[in-house]
């Protein structure tokens, strides 16, 4: 199957179909009225003017960029301004630049790149014209799938160029010269023949009335001043002085605070509570039954958290107390032999080739549920007044937050006719903040004290126990190797829990998708870059009451561990060096081969290591980016594991900010290593057994390896960088442990296995 028909496609077509039909009913004029270019200028009440949906200029020359993606560490508040600034011809280090997440939810901010799984520059033609507008109706504002740069690469350079041309026209009017004689330079329009200059701030008002140029010429890569140059992040200074405002830091007049306790068993509900027992505690204002949780609103967070802890509550487990990780795992292993499975790919003859082969390699792998453990605990501040809700939250999707708040209002027996969402900085998202649960709870709590903002903060314990978890999975492979040792046939069956179903049921009006055909469960496993003549890749869904959610690289984090561990096993079975083996499977894949070759060189792949040490390699493609990693480990005679070094080579096409690419690779590798080494959420009696960092362990500074990142120079369009560095880290580590010890670790986390040097 084509991976292009990817991530949210099913829903995209559902929604597109519905809206195209709707569009026909209300008339084609409706869709035409939705502006999906965002290039028109406008004047603001505060005296600033907008040159388009992304650029606002004040008379003093202050430039404010509206970035409709949440800054959660990935550097998007710098990368997207770089795209605009490149064409607008301004500097970013002049001290006059502001970046903010816009409150206005303009249609053009819709992330149709994610929804359609297409670059904006590719999504042309009448069907996509309609589809884009449909996503603009909601609008589908979302940060995820490593799409922010991919989806902005073309529109934001256009926005910068169009604004510059509007400013040039305004200057040409002033000087009464042809606009073609005027060009942009360092925040000024310059008249080429005379050298006269006017600052953008002086021209902005007149420029905002000019008609935009929808398809302005864009610079060739050879002319880039900013793109591709290491650029200091615009958000960093405030993050070292403590001035950066995160969602949890929002302070509003008359604000009160809330804490909650949720049903420990997933699917449980409140049977009874004795609100009177805590009403007289200091500061307590309201005690609220949220259906599956209880909340206390108080003058301070400390008072709210003390009261909610003391609140006598009985929960019904609604028959879900039997959930247990050991049983889930046994069931998933059994499901490997299920008679029904959905084939995402079947090239044919797989069984025949396997049956006829005398060189069959077989292995089964398993991965656990994982939490996000964002450093900033889940929180949301909500104000409810006269049917209007206002939210302040680190949300990866204001659309999902709006739906969450509306459902929270209903829960409180009222309606939120409008929802306004402010998106501050956030302390890590990783997919967790794409859910609407916090908005739902905060809106319901706020409805209990209308007119007063309520800041709801979850404790770390609530955060770990009520996360939306990375799916657990089991994956079995059988491969028949040919005379050259390479696979002739490849049979892979995955058993996993559906993200699409679980997330959709929680968050989307149309509900969850068909779990049996959930692409997220097999992304990265269906179409590896390797040339495998006959492959079959199937899925069996395994439903549990555990909520499943987006997680940094989601399905890829499982698939890469499975596929890259198994390819390693095939290489060893064939007696071929694992890196050369992969190279042999990459005929006709020059970009992948280049990554591997650079990786071999930079990691000194062939250089012998002392006993007890080992190197492992892994290569994975995700989010339009190819990443290869080599991990180097030492296993002591006592079995103690040290990850000494990770060498990473990334081909993400055109690089915007190389320093951010390096930082994202470092971060993704450490996120992946944390998962591989320690990450495991277990369910006992229907509830999560872990609760905080002492039993859901994080890699620390002392255990972090040295990381070297090398970027393959490329003129291809940009790929994503937030997630693709993660998946290869897990198999590279497991493969390195095999090289050091001869132990093949097929179940994560590694901390479950006792290591020994052969």
């Amino acid at each position: 199957m084509s991976m292009r028909a990817g991530r949210l496609t099913r829903r995209a077509f559902l929604v597109t179909g519905a809206a195209v039909t709707g569009g026909l009913v209300v008339g084609a004029g409706y869709l035409s009225s939705i502006d999906m270019t965002g290039l028109d200028g406008f004047a603001n009440a505060d005296g600033t003017v907008g040159l388009n949906a992304w650029i606002r200029i004040a008379e003093d020359g202050t430039i404010t960029f509206a970035v409709p993606h949440i800054e959660m560490g990935q550097g998007i508040f710098t990368a997207l301004p770089m795209l605009i600034a490149e064409e607008l011809e301004i500097r970013l280090d002049g001290g006059n630049i502001r970046v903010e997440h816009p409150v206005d939810e303009l249609p053009v901010y819709a992330n149709y790149t994610l929804a359609l799984d297409m670059r904006p520059e590719e999504a042309t033609g009448p069907l996509y014209w309609a589809a884009k507008k449909v996503f603009g109706i909601f609008p589908l504002i979302v940060t995820g799938g490593s799409t922010s740069v991919v989806g902005s690469w073309w529109p934001l350079r256009v926005a910068g160029a169009s604004a510059r041309l509007m400013l040039a026209e305004a200057a040409a009017d002033v000087w009464q010269v042809p606009a073609g004689e005027c060009f942009g330079e360092d925040g000024h329009i310059v008249h080429r023949p005379t050298g006269r200059r006017l600052a953008y701030g002086e021209l902005a008002r007149a420029a905002s009335a000019k008609a935009p140029t929808p398809n302005p010429p864009l610079k060739p890569a050879s002319a880039f001043r900013l793109i591709g140059k290491p650029t200091p992040r615009l958000d960093v200074p405030a993050k070292v002085t403590g001035e950066a405002i995160f969602g949890i830091d929002v302070a509003l007049p008359d604000m009160v605070h809330a804490a909650i306790r949720q049903s420990p068993v997933f699917g449980g509900t409140v049977r009874s509570m004795d609100a009177g027992a805590v009403r007289s505690m200091p500061g307590v204002i309201e005690v609220v039954d949220l259906g599956d949780a209880v909340g206390v609103v108080a003058d301070s967070y400390w008072q709210a958290s003390r009261a909610v802890a003391a609140l006598p509550v009985e929960f019904d487990d609604n028959g879900n107390a039997g959930g247990d990780s050991a049983r889930f795992l046994a069931d998933m292993h059994r499901a490997l032999d299920a008679t029904e499975a959905h084939a995402f790919r079947d090239d044919g003859d797989v069984d025949e080739i396997l049956a006829a082969s005398d060189r069959v390699v077989e292995a089964t792998y398993e991965t656990p549920l994982l939490a996000h453990a964002c450093m900033e605990p889940m929180n949301c501040t909500a104000l409810f007044r006269d049917g209007e809700a206002e939210l302040w939250m680190g949300s990866q999707s204001p659309l999902i937050a709006r739906w969450g708040a509306q459902s929270g209002a209903k829960l409180a027996g009222t309606e939120a006719e409008s929802v306004t969402t402010h998106v501050p900085l956030t302390g890590g998202g990783f997919g967790r903040r794409a859910d609407g649960d916090l908005a739902r709870q905060a809106a319901a709590l706020a409805a209990s004290v209308p007119g007063r903002p309520v800041k709801l903060i979850w404790s770390r314990e609530e955060d770990i126990r009520h996360d939306t978890y990375r799916p657990h999975a089991v994956s079995r492979f059988r491969a028949a190797l040919g005379l050259d040792g390479l696979p002739l046939a490849w049979d892979n069956r995955v058993v996993s829990q559906s993200l699409d179903r679980s997330y959709g049921d929680r968050n989307l009006p149309v509900g969850g998708g068909n779990p049996a055909k959930d692409h997220f469960s097999v992304e990265g496993a269906v179409d590896p870059a390797y040339a495998i003549p006959r492959a079959r890749v199937e899925l069996v869904d395994h439903a549990t009451p555990v909520p499943i959610g987006f997680w940094r690289s989601v399905g890829h984090s499982n698939s890469a561990f499975f596929v890259e561990s198994f390819v390693d096993e095939c290489a060893h079975a064939a007696g071929i060096d694992p890196l050369l083996y992969r190279r042999g499977l990459l005929a006709g894949r020059p970009r992948h081969r280049k990554v591997l070759d650079m990786l071999a060189e930079r990691s000194q792949w062939g250089r012998p290591l002392a006993p007890g040490r080992g190197r492992g390699v892994a290569l994975h493609t995700a989010f339009r980016t190819i990443v290869g990693e080599v991990a180097e480990v030492t296993v002591g005679v006592d079995g103690a594991l040290s990850v000494d070094r990770v060498v990473c080579v990334v081909d993400c096409g055109t690089v915007i900010n190389p320093d951010t690419v390096e930082a994202q690779m470092e971060g993704a590798i450490l996120f992946g290593l944390t998962a591989a080494l320690h990450g495991e959420i277990t369910i006992e009696e229907g509830r999560v057994a872990q609760s905080n960092f002492y039993d859901y362990r994080m890699l620390g500074l002392a255990d972090a390896p040295a990381i070297e990142t090398h970027i393959v120079p490329s003129g291809e369009p940009p790929g994503g960088i937030g997630e693709p560095g993660l998946p290869p880290a897990l198999p590279a580590l497991a493969n390195a442990i095999f090289a050091a010890t001869g132990q093949r670790l097929r179940a994560l986390p590694i901390s479950k296995s006792a290591l020994r040097v052969a």
């Binding site: 002085t241 403590g242 301070s300 964002c374 470092e666 500074l701 002392a702």
Partner: protein, 158 residues
């Protein structure tokens, strides 16, 4: 009534003496740079200096620090001039999401006050703060850089 000297200013706080210092700083004194994360003193996001010693303020009871001198991230820069640690943090482009960085910077500040040229091993032992974004390699580089800047010699001290 609890009395504290916070970032050089005398402050009086009328609150439950059992309340953690963290919440007094954030809610009563309007200093949100100190972050809440684990609530059990493990992750370091809430680190502040109490009489010069780095402490996780989420497990320090307000009543136990009456009269103490407290420095938060907001007080690390002197008169608007970034400290060598903060400058090194910018030069090495350490923060990603930035949420744990207040505590990291406070912990690094305390380390360098005690040990102006820490080795990698010293840094391993002293910096136990958790960062989910994976800034550790840059934190290490920035501490060495700040040490060099503050002690003014070229050696790397490792």
């Amino acid at each position: 009534m609890i009395t504290l000297t916070v970032n050089g200013d005398d402050r009086r706080i009328d609150a439950d003496p059992d309340m953690p210092l963290l919440w007094a700083l954030r809610e009563n004194l309007g200093l949100p740079g100190t972050k809440f994360s684990c609530g059990v003193g493990m992750c370091g996001a809430c680190m502040v200096l109490v009489d010069g010693i780095a402490m996780p303020s989420c497990v320090v009871q307000l009543g136990s620090v009456d009269g103490a001198v407290v420095t938060t991230i907001e007080g690390v820069a002197a008169d608007g001039v970034l400290s060598p640690v903060q400058q090194a943090w910018i030069d090495e482009q350490v923060p990603q999401c930035g949420y744990c960085q207040s505590g990291m910077i406070v912990a690094a500040t305390a380390l360098l006050a005690e040990n102006p040229r820490p080795s990698d091993r010293d840094i391993d032992a002293a910096i136990t703060n958790i960062c989910r974004c994976g800034t550790y390699p840059r934190v290490r580089r920035a501490i060495h850089r700040a040490a060099e800047a503050a002690t003014g010699s070229g050696g790397d001290g490792r």
